[in-house]
């Protein structure tokens, strides 16, 4: 078996160790004897979503995110089709914000990809710190670091990724974090996200394999002692 992972615009969206997420998916496939192909796309590259099994959209600075936004409008309809057909997407920080209809920064509105029913508005102060959430999708809490000025409001027909245990999450309310729609996961958690949250990584890999091979997949277990230790330790950080 094999999977192809598309990394969108790593030159621009690479702020918080997103390479670690790619590496984590790649290694956890390879350790199970599954090939992983990584395709990096630069601005203006043609993206054929039919070739991709997982899409990673990372975070960038506001300036760089704006550069990306203009480009995104040209891939919007293909990307939408991919998502509706249960294509797997993992979107982090800025990438999470781009999933929505728009990002409001003061008087300026940046158009998003309109893939998921959500929007983001920049509000006073940044939400920064360690964060831990509980998600119905996983047994272990999901832990990471958040640093965002935007507050993300998700629609009634999409689910959050999880409930906030410590930290902020989508807004100042400290209630819910991230979004889960079909096979799209959007979240503010970086750290990077996947190495310390192996269940989440395996969930993504399983969904992608099932979609590609049209059969039920049960990944062989790995020794996650180090991952679980790091996850538990991070949960306790202030």
């Amino acid at each position: 078996m094999e999977l192809t992972i598309g990394h969108l615009y790593p030159d621009l969206l690479n702020l918080y160790g997103d390479r670690g997420n790619i590496r984590c998916m790649q290694k956890r496939l390879e350790w199970r004897g599954i090939s992983a192909h990584i395709k990096e796309f630069q601005l203006h590259d043609n993206i054929d979503f039919n070739e991709l099994d997982i899409v990673l959209l990372g975070g960038g600075s506001d300036r760089e995110q704006k550069l990306v936004c203009q480009e995104l409008q040209s891939i919007k309809s293909d990307f939408k089709q991919y998502v509706e057909e249960y294509g797997v997407v993992i979107a982090i920080c800025g990438g999470y914000q781009l999933l929505g209809s728009h990002y409001q920064i003061g008087a300026e509105t940046i158009s998003g990809l309109e893939l998921v029913d959500l929007y983001t508005r920049q509000e006073e102060g940044r939400l920064i710190g360690n964060i831990t959430i509980s998600s119905d999708l996983f047994d272990m809490p999901v832990t990471g670091f958040e640093n965002h000025g935007g507050r993300t409001y998700i629609g009634e027909n999409v689910s959050p990724l999880g409930k906030v245990i410590t930290g902020y999450g989508n807004t100042d309310e400290r209630d819910y974090e991230g979004v889960h729609y079909k096979n799209v996961i959007g979240t503010y958690l970086h750290g990077p996200l996947l190495p310390k949250n192996p269940e989440l990584c395996d969930y993504i890999l399983t969904k992608a394999l099932e979609r590609k091979y049209k059969e039920s997949i049960s990944l062989s277990p790995l020794d996650d002692t180090a991952e679980i230790r790091a996850n538990k330790y991070a949960q306790g950080r202030k």
């Binding site: 640093n147 990077p192 991952e227």
Partner: protein, 452 residues
């Protein structure tokens, strides 16, 4: 009268003295006391500098560059005020001047060499206007503290605008520093390394900042990289390019100490024979040299300073414990860490390695930057054994695990060192981030003196 001023200086000095007696760093406290008692203290003392004030800014290399500049000026017979301990926020700057003041409350100095944290420039510059600003480089650094690099650049630009008559001494190889300097319209003096250096092969997978033109947004093209985003660049769209280099390093040899030649705009050559290690120190030497040359000094007496340089403060500092050579080196961000990895790899001998990572406030609570460092290169560094330590040892363990590099996690640094000493490898490297430095260094000193 100036009674308050005398009081401010006296109490500040006393506070510093008490702290030293107690074995603590009292520099920032001393500065705070002085400005609380006498708010104009920094303005008045800095105003007494007879000639020029240098300010050094930039992500990496501030302390090294600033202290070298100070030493160069002193070798020319000049008296200099310098915040040599690296306390580079407002209170640290104040205390450098206050502690240099004499009994009558005056400064008797020709120059001041002051390093200033980028985010503090706007708080410092209302008190004095520098004549020179040295901008070493701009890299991503502790994003949860400083925010995105664009924010740092905006702050610096505002600060530089506050000093309209000052000259910028800029690393031409860094596109971010060069574009920033270019946008200010100030007089610019540049330094850099015009040609690729064979002994310093750039890593292909390093994180590079500012790949897109700061002026027009097009993707920049590079002829080559030295490391990170430092190299020779141009914009195919608007024509912005690496500026002409006024002070250029040529004939570089890395070996056991940096050797090279500096060629200036008059085509005169100045040989550098130094005891510094690490490619990045070429830039620090160039910056300090450009600084003194800009004041028309001859630099005739800087040779012994460079040749006899003894690394300290955990910057490539050497220790010897039970016949094991231990090299301690600080790195706070991906660019610094990648350069440290290069320095380890210049040593072909078998070695043990300890990496200590903390996530305290001064380190930045966010440790995701570990994944922007090219730790994969250690797989080809002739390393016998790796131990990860510090508050975020388990994150560092994962970082190595996902690079297919075996390591062990031992949270206590002392236990980690003792464990490594059992190996009889006699060659150990300890890479630490900021708050891990002080404790590790103290420990190594005690071990070296046989007190542990």
């Amino acid at each position: 009268m100036k009674l308050r001023k005398y009081l401010a200086i006296a109490l500040s000095k006393l506070a510093n003295h008490i702290c030293i007696k107690m074995g603590r760093q009292g520099v920032t406290w001393a500065g705070k006391i002085a400005i609380t008692i006498y708010p104009d203290i920094l303005k008045e003392l800095a105003g007494e500098i007879r000639n020029k004030i240098y300010v050094t800014c930039g992500t990496n290399g501030k302390t090294t560059t600033n202290n070298m500049l100070c030493a160069f000026l002193e070798s020319e017979g000049q008296s200099v005020v310098c915040n040599s301990t690296g306390s580079n926020m407002l209170n640290g700057v104040i205390s450098a001047f206050v502690l240099a003041a004499d009994k009558s409350g005056h400064i008797d100095a020709d120059y001041a060499c002051i390093e200033v944290d980028e985010a503090s420039t706007l708080r410092v510059f209302p008190h004095f206007t520098p004549d020179y600003i040295i901008l070493t480089n701009l890299f991503r650094d502790q994003l949860d503290r400083y925010g995105e690099i664009d924010i740092t650049m905006d702050l610096l630009k505002q600060a530089i605008d506050e000093a309209p008559d000052c000259t910028l001494i800029v690393n031409a190889d860094d596109v971010l520093s060069a574009s920033l300097a270019n946008q200010t319209g100030h007089r610019i003096i540049t330094y850099g390394i015009a040609e690729p250096c064979d002994e310093n092969p750039a890593s292909a997978s390093e994180i590079r900042e500012g790949r897109f033109c700061q002026i027009c947004g097009a993707k920049l093209q590079y002829d080559f990289y030295h490391f990170s985003q430092l190299g020779s660049y141009h914009c195919p769209s608007c024509g912005f390019m690496r500026p002409a280099i006024d002070f250029n390093a040529e004939d570089i040899s890395l070996g056991q100490g940096l050797h090279f030649t500096i060629r200036d705009t008059t085509d005169s050559y100045f040989p550098i024979v130094s005891n510094y290690r690490g490619f990045y120190n070429i830039y620090n030497i160039l910056a300090a040299y450009a600084g003194v040359k800009s004041e028309d000094f001859t630099c005739e007496k800087i040779e012994p300073i460079l040749a006899n340089f003894k690394p300290e403060n955990g910057r490539m500092e050497q220790f010897s414990v039970n016949s094991t050579n231990i090299l301690l080196n600080l790195a706070k961000n991906p660019a610094g860490f990648n350069q440290n990895i290069s320095a380890v790899m210049e040593d072909a001998k078998p070695k043990n390695l300890i990496v200590v990572i903390n996530d305290n406030a001064q380190d930045g609570h966010d440790i995701s930057w570990l994944w922007d460092v090219d730790f994969e290169r250690f797989s080809k560094a002739n390393i016998n054994r790796i131990i990860v330590s510090g508050l975020r040892a388990y994150d560092m363990e994962l970082r190595f695990k996902y690079s297919d590099i075996p390591c062990e996690a031992i949270l206590s640094v002392e236990e980690a060192i003792n464990e490594m000493l059992k190996d009889n490898i006699n060659n150990m490297y300890i890479l630490v981030n900021y708050t891990a430095l002080y404790g590790t260094r103290k420990l190594l000193k005690a071990m070296e003196e046989g007190n542990i």
